[in-house]
Every structure is written in structure tokens, then in C-alpha cells.
Amino acid sequence: MRRIGALFIILFGSSFLLFNLAALSTDPIAELRLSDAPNKEQLIVSLTRELRLDLPAPVRYFIWLRGVLGVFVGNPNFGLTREQEPVINAISGAIPVTIRLVFVATIVAIVLGISLGITSALRQYTRFDYGMTFFAFLLYSLPIFWVAVLLKQYLAIDFNDFLVNATISPPWIIFFSAATGFFWAAIFSGTRKRVVQIFIGVFIANSLLLTAISATKWFAYPRLGPIAIAILGVGIALGVTYLSVGLQATAAVKTSLMMAGFGTISYFPAQAVLNSDRPRLGLLVLFVVLVAVSVAGSYVFSRIDRGPIIRTSLITSTLIGLLILVDRLMQAWRPFVESDDVNYRPVATIGQSTIWLSEVPFWVRVLDQVMHLILPTIALTLISFAGYIRFSRGTLLDVLNQDYIRTARAKGLNERTVIMRHAFRNTMIPLTTIMVADFAGIVGGAIITERVFAWQGMGTLFNKAIVSFDLNLLMGVSIFLSTLAILANLVADLLYSALDPRIRVGAGK
């Protein structure tokens, strides 16, 4: 309770500060004073009355605050924008847009950043580690608006041009294969012979794959189909099992392989469900079925220690469910690309969705939103995941030096268990703080991204507020962002104490 009290004091203080700052530095009348409208005096008088400019700024703040405090009696009044629209309407329209943008970018950044950071820590002082460090610093130093313009050019315009033909030229195949080869060889560093072997293996596999993709024009006609889902499913099953409980646990291997098989079989009924009139419901049904089967399967195959096995098969089935979803979206690709409103330019550079002039199916609509999300998400991800790389690397290195890791090794646990069970979990504790706090930070960063990609979210509102001296709107946006930041901090603290029993929040001084 004390913390929540402090929360309101901080909100009050920061909004008071910003209100006065903004009120003092803006002069809504200045523009009118310079205008040569015949009824200038009258306009100034009416605007003064409307915005209560006759009162000093702190007094106006309390008028505004009285309206906002209506939240507690169920009647909040954030005031009107300069266009006489209630601020709360404008904001509630913009929040989902920004959240969608930020949410995806945060998830991608967390997953990629942490996995790269951890790999980099496990390969400390190798070339891969140095490369990652440099990469992270480079990302730190990138201005997001600059990256965004580059992405627009190379990932949207050029990629759309490429999609017309969808054939990859041999030099590019060699380049991509060599790049991935270097990447994997750097990760699995070992003796020189081993590195060369890995490089050659990855290079050949990748070249073959890319040649096949180019020959079948896969990018123009993307699809997965049951066979690819089966192959990928088995891969996912083995990979997830290896990371979570190890391949020696036969029960877990059996369960997740069964899930891969079941996922592949469920591909066929899933098509019918997803193509029905109510695709959202179908998606839910598919998800519930996969979860139910994976839990049931784990019970059948395992007798002891069911927890980790259920977890493993749940992760596997979720990933396979995602594959089926991706496949469904790919099936919508041709109708999407060929529709008049898209006209063979699938990767969108501006806006959050196409304005459809004709009726289109549900999945095309979804695909369209995904295509609009791609560029801003990549831009936001690139900027924010550098932090995760650095931080997870540093934390894991700290954790690996702890005594309990030595104890775990001394017990004779294998390296996988030491890393995944003992080190990784303890690395995640401080990372949660960063994650939650960062979410609020990215919302701030989204202001610039929205501007570049012309999304109609909080950032656009904020821009408008500043340019048109709209104090009510500005305060609305900032109080929302501040609340989010403070709540995020609160959640981080609570999570922290929940994860780490040594820390107790609010327990004395």
C-alpha cells in the first residue's frame, strides 16, 4: 500500500512538473497575434477564455487535475483537444496501435537478445563474443530514424522488386550461405578442423536450400504444407527437448515426438477449422486441443517427474501450432499479393494496414497487418535488443562465477543442466527488471518509429499535441506513458521479489 501511495505522489509530481513546463514554454496565442484575421481581438479573447489562459499555470494544472481525478468516481475528464474531441477518445484509439507495435518488438528483442547474449557469454573471449560486443555497440549507436529509412529502401522497396521474380542469383546464394556458415562456425568454435567442417557443412546445406527456394520461386508462392511441418516439427521437438531436459530423458523425447506427429496430423482438420466462418474461434479451439493433447500425452509417457516433461511438450506443441498458423497465412499470400489494393507490393512502408477498397477474407486482412508490422518491428527490435545482448551476457558471466555453479559442476551434472537449470534461471532474475522497465522505454522510442512509418498511435498524437500547443492532449499522452513507466517499475519490483526470495519489498528499512 505504501508503494501505491508513493506511485500517486510521483505521478502527481511529474505531471505537475510537465504541465508547468509545457504551459510556460508554449504560447497558444502567439500564432493568433501574428495573424491578420479581421476578428483577431475576438479570437484571442475567446481562446483565452476557452483555455483559461487568464489564470496562472499552476492554477490551471489543478483545474486539469480535478477533471483527471474523476477517474475514481468513474467520470474522468481529461479535457478536450483543440479540435473539441475528448482527449480520452483520441488516446484510447491510439493505445492499441502503439501497444501492438511495441509488444511484438519487445518479444522479438527479448528472445533474440537473450539467446545471442547467452551464447556470447558461453563463448567468452572468442571471435563470436567480440563480434557480438561490436554488434551490440553498433546497435546502441544507431539512430532509429536512420535505420528506418534504410529498412524502407532495402527491405521494402528492393525486396518487393525481388518478389516480382523471386529468383536468387548465384552470387547472393554464395554470399548468404557463407554468412550463415561463418555465423554457425563462430558459435561452435573448437579446433580449426572442426570449424572448417562446420563451415563447409552449413555452407553446402544452405546453398542447396537457397537454390531450391530460388528454383521453386518459394518467396513468390510461399507454403509449408504437411511435409515441411512434419520435418520442422521433429526438429523443434528434438531441439526443445535437448534444451529443457536433455535427450537422455526418453519419456520427454517420446512425448515431444508424439506431439510433432500429432501436430502434423492435426494440420488437416486445422485447415477446415481455420477456414470456417469464425477463424478466431477456430484458432482458440486448435490451441486448446494442442494443449490438452500435450498434457495428456505427457501423463501417458511419463511416470515420474512430470513437470518438466509437460513443459517441454507444451512448448513443442505451441511452436507447432504457430507453424500451422504461419502456413495458413502463407496460403493467403497469393490472394493478398494479387489484390488490387496491394498490387504486388506486399512489404508496406507506411501506415498500420491497407485501406481495403474491396471485401477481402479474414486471413488476407491478418496477413496485411503482419506485413505492415514487419518494418517498424525490425527497426524497434534492432534498437532495443542490443541492451539485452549486453545485459544477459554480463549477468550470465557473473552467475557462472558463483559458488553454486561450481557446486553444480562438482556434483557431476552435465554442462547442459548446469547452464539451463542453474545458470540460466538465475540470469533471468535481474533480466526481468530490465524487460519490464524496457517495455515502457520502447513506448517512448515508438514515438519516432511511428513518425517514420506513419502509424496513427500515441506518437502521432504527441507530435500533434506539441505542434498545435494542445496542452490537454499532451498531458493525456504523457500521463499515460508515465503511469505505464511507474506501473512497469512496480511490476518489476514485485516480480523481482517473487523470483528471488532473498529480496523483500517494503519490509522495513
Binding site: S14, F16, L21, T26, F145, L400, I447, I466, S478
Partner: protein
């Protein structure tokens, strides 16, 4: 680190580890703390490269253009080595441009491979819409951005250190009030404060804008310094100083501050790299430095739509932003390593051999 090792090599590793301390102790014998830090920093290769690159960028940027001091009509001019100034408008050049565009860059940085060697040409970075020399514009923009960065860094460092030190040293109600103030400022996203200030004061010049931004950038640093002071003030050497009759001011500046300087310096460098990105982002949004003055962010913002036809208008300012921010980040990293007593440089093979020899010698001696 986490690689499996055979037991024999592990034993050897343990021996080397034992020798390691000896190596490091030997290295730091008879050196003061600052000398040790300086040596560590100089040894950090990436940081040293960054220092050199940053220094060359600063030299390049501040010597290229004329300095005009005094009144607009009759300025006192310190000539720069570049022939154009950012306000000059030479005629647009049309010849030799790809795709029928105008004012393309004449710089040729590929040495002798294409047969004509390195040359700057008439307009190395090209020209903008009205013929202004883009090299001069970028130089001017980088001057502004560097200026903003240093001013913000200076103000934030001073304010953050003093406020954090006072809060951490005196504790009690002083601390409570100051830290609530920090909370108030820190919850407003920095880009919002920056935009509110920048939109209305940006036209008063980059330096003025930077000073205002600096007044809001110190909060994170002050929290760090406060934390550092809270731990340091409980240490024995502080008690000793106080018993010896040192005043509060003396204890703060002579005894505690020197011990907290590592944290301060590192976080100020990181703050500065954030500052240059903040300035460029604000200018990009139109809330920072405004025309007729020039800033790197403003240049990118102005010419972002020209990217397909005249990409150089976009590349050069961006590259300067990245180069500056990257250098600062690497310097910060180097400083962090240098100040961190736990941090050890990686032993080279030669060091390990020395260690082994030392070990053998001690065995022989015993």
C-alpha cells in the same frame, strides 16, 4: 569459460590462476590508482582506437570551416581549410551524376584501384537542393551535435554528481526531497521533455537547447552517485577523516568523491552517447535545432525522401552520428573495464608463460 577441459589441463589452469595474481600484483607495484586505471585503459585496444577516431573526427570537424566571430556584417574570420562554408551557395554541378541526379559527391576514397587515386574533388559529399556544399553542411551539423553532446554531458555530470552526493551524504529529509524530484523527472520519457523544450527553444540555438536539456538529463547519474555515496560514507576511512576533524565539504570532495569517480565517468560517457542520439532524434522530429542552423538529425530529416535518388544526402550525416556515438560507447566500455577492480585483462600466452616460469622458480626455491 564453460568449455569442458580435461583434468590435466585443469590442473595446469589452476597453477596459472595462482600465478595470475602474482602477475597482476607485479604489474601494479608502486603505481597510484590513477596510473593503474590509465594503464588498463591504454591497453584496451577498442577504446584506444575509439579515442583516436573520435579525436580525429573532432579535429576534422572543427578545423574544416571558417570561424566567424563577432557581428554578422563585419565578422572576424579565422579561416578553415575547406574552401566552402555552410552558408555559401556555389552553383549546382550537373556533370557525371548517375541517373540524371544533381550535385553528387566527388569524393574518391578507393585508393588507386580504379586508377585515379584518392581525391576530394569539388564537393566531396555532394551538394544539397540549392547547391550548398554538403561537406560543409555535415561538418557544421557535426559541430552542433558535438557541442550539444558536450554541454549536456558537462551540465548533467555536474548536477548529477552534486545532487547525488548531497543526497547520499546527508541522507534524511534532504535525500527524500531530492530523490522525489529525481522520481518526478525520471518518469517523464526523456523524448517528451526534450520535445516540449526543443520545440519552443530550438530556434534560440543549439547551445541554449543543450543547456536546457542538460537540466533534465542528470537524474539517472544522481541516483547512481547517491547509491555510491550511501555505501562509501559507512566505510572506515570516512570515519577516520571525520574523527580527524575534516569538514563535510572536505569529506565529500577529498575522501568520498575520488572513490566514486569511476562510476561517474563511465555513466557520463554513456550519457553523452545518449545525448547525441537524443539531439539528432529531436532535430529529426523537428523539435530540436531548426533551420537556418544545421544539425545532423535535421539534415537526415530534410533529405530522407531523397534517399532513392540522392542517397549521399542521407548517408553522410548518418555515418557521422554513428561514428561519434560508437566511439563514445567504446570509450565508456574501456573506462568501465579500467575502473572495475574485478575486471582482469585476458592473459596472453606470454603472460601465462611468465606465470609458469614464476611458479617453477618458487617451487625450486622452496
Amino acid at each position: 569459460m564453460a568449455k569442458k577441459k580435461s583434468s590435466a589441463s585443469e590442473v595446469e589452469q589452476a597453477q596459472v590462476d595462482a600465478g595470475e595474481n602474482a602477475i597482476f600484483n607485479k604489474e601494479t607495484e608502486g603505481l597510484s590508482q590513477s596510473q593503474i586505471v590509465f594503464r588498463r585503459f591504454v591497453r584496451h585496444r577498442a577504446a584506444m582506437i575509439a579515442v583516436i577516431v573520435l579525436f580525429s573526427i573532432i579535429t576534422l570537424v572543427y578545423t574544416a570551416l571558417d570561424w566567424r566571430i563577432g557581428s554578422k556584417e563585419d565578422p572576424y574570420i579565422i579561416p578553415g581549410w575547406w574552401k566552402y562554408n555552410f552558408e555559401d551557395m556555389p552553383p549546382l554541378l550537373f556533370e557525371d551524376c548517375p541517373g540524371g541526379s544533381v550535385g553528387c559527391p566527388t569524393i574518391d576514397a578507393i585508393p588507386f584501384l580504379d586508377g585515379d587515386g584518392v581525391k576530394m574533388g569539388e564537393h566531396p559529399f555532394g551538394q544539397d537542393d540549392i547547391g550548398r556544399d554538403y561537406f560543409a553542411l555535415v561538418m557544421r551539423g557535426a559541430q552542433r551535435s558535438l557541442l550539444v553532446m558536450f554541454i549536456i554531458g558537462l551540465i548533467a555530470a555536474t548536477l548529477g554528481t552534486v545532487i547525488g552526493a548531497v543526497a547520499g551524504y546527508f541522507r534524511g529529509w534532504v535525500d527524500a526531497i531530492l530523490m522525489r524530484l529525481v522520481d518526478f523527472i525520471i518518469t517523464i520519457p526523456v523524448i517528451i521533455i526534450g520535445s516540449v523544450i526543443g520545440y519552443h527553444y530550438g530556434n534560440k540555438g543549439a547551445a541554449f537547447l543543450a543547456v536546457l536539456l542538460g537540466f533534465f538529463a542528470w537524474t539517472g547519474l544522481s541516483r547512481l552517485v547517491r547509491g555510491e555515496f550511501l555505501t562509501l560514507r559507512e566505510r572506515e576511512f570516512v570515519d577516520a577523516a571525520r574523527v580527524a576533524g575534516a569538514s563535510n565539504r572536505r569529506v565529500i570532495f577529498k575522501h568520498i568523491l575520488p572513490n566514486a569517480i569511476g562510476v561517474i565517468i563511465v555513466s557520463v560517457t554513456l550519457l553523452m552517447s545518449g545525448a547525441i542520439l537524443l539531439e539528432t532524434a529531436l532535430s529529426f522530429l523537428g523539435f530540436g535545432v531548426t533551420a537556418p542552423d544545421v544539425s545532423l538529425g535535421l539534415l537526415i530529416s530534410t533529405y530522407q525522401d531523397a534517399f532513392t535518388t540522392r542517397p549521399w544526402l542521407f548517408w553522410y550525416p548518418g555515418l557521422f552520428i554513428i561514428a561519434i556515438a560508437l566511439c563514445i560507447n567504446f570509450i565508456g566500455d574501456g573506462l568501465r573495464d579500467a575502473f572495475d577492480p574485478r575486471q582482469r585483462r585476458r592473459l596472453t600466452r606470454k603472460d601465462k608463460e611468465n606465470a609458469r616460469m614464476m611458479k617453477n622458480r618458487s617451487e625450486v626455491a622452496s
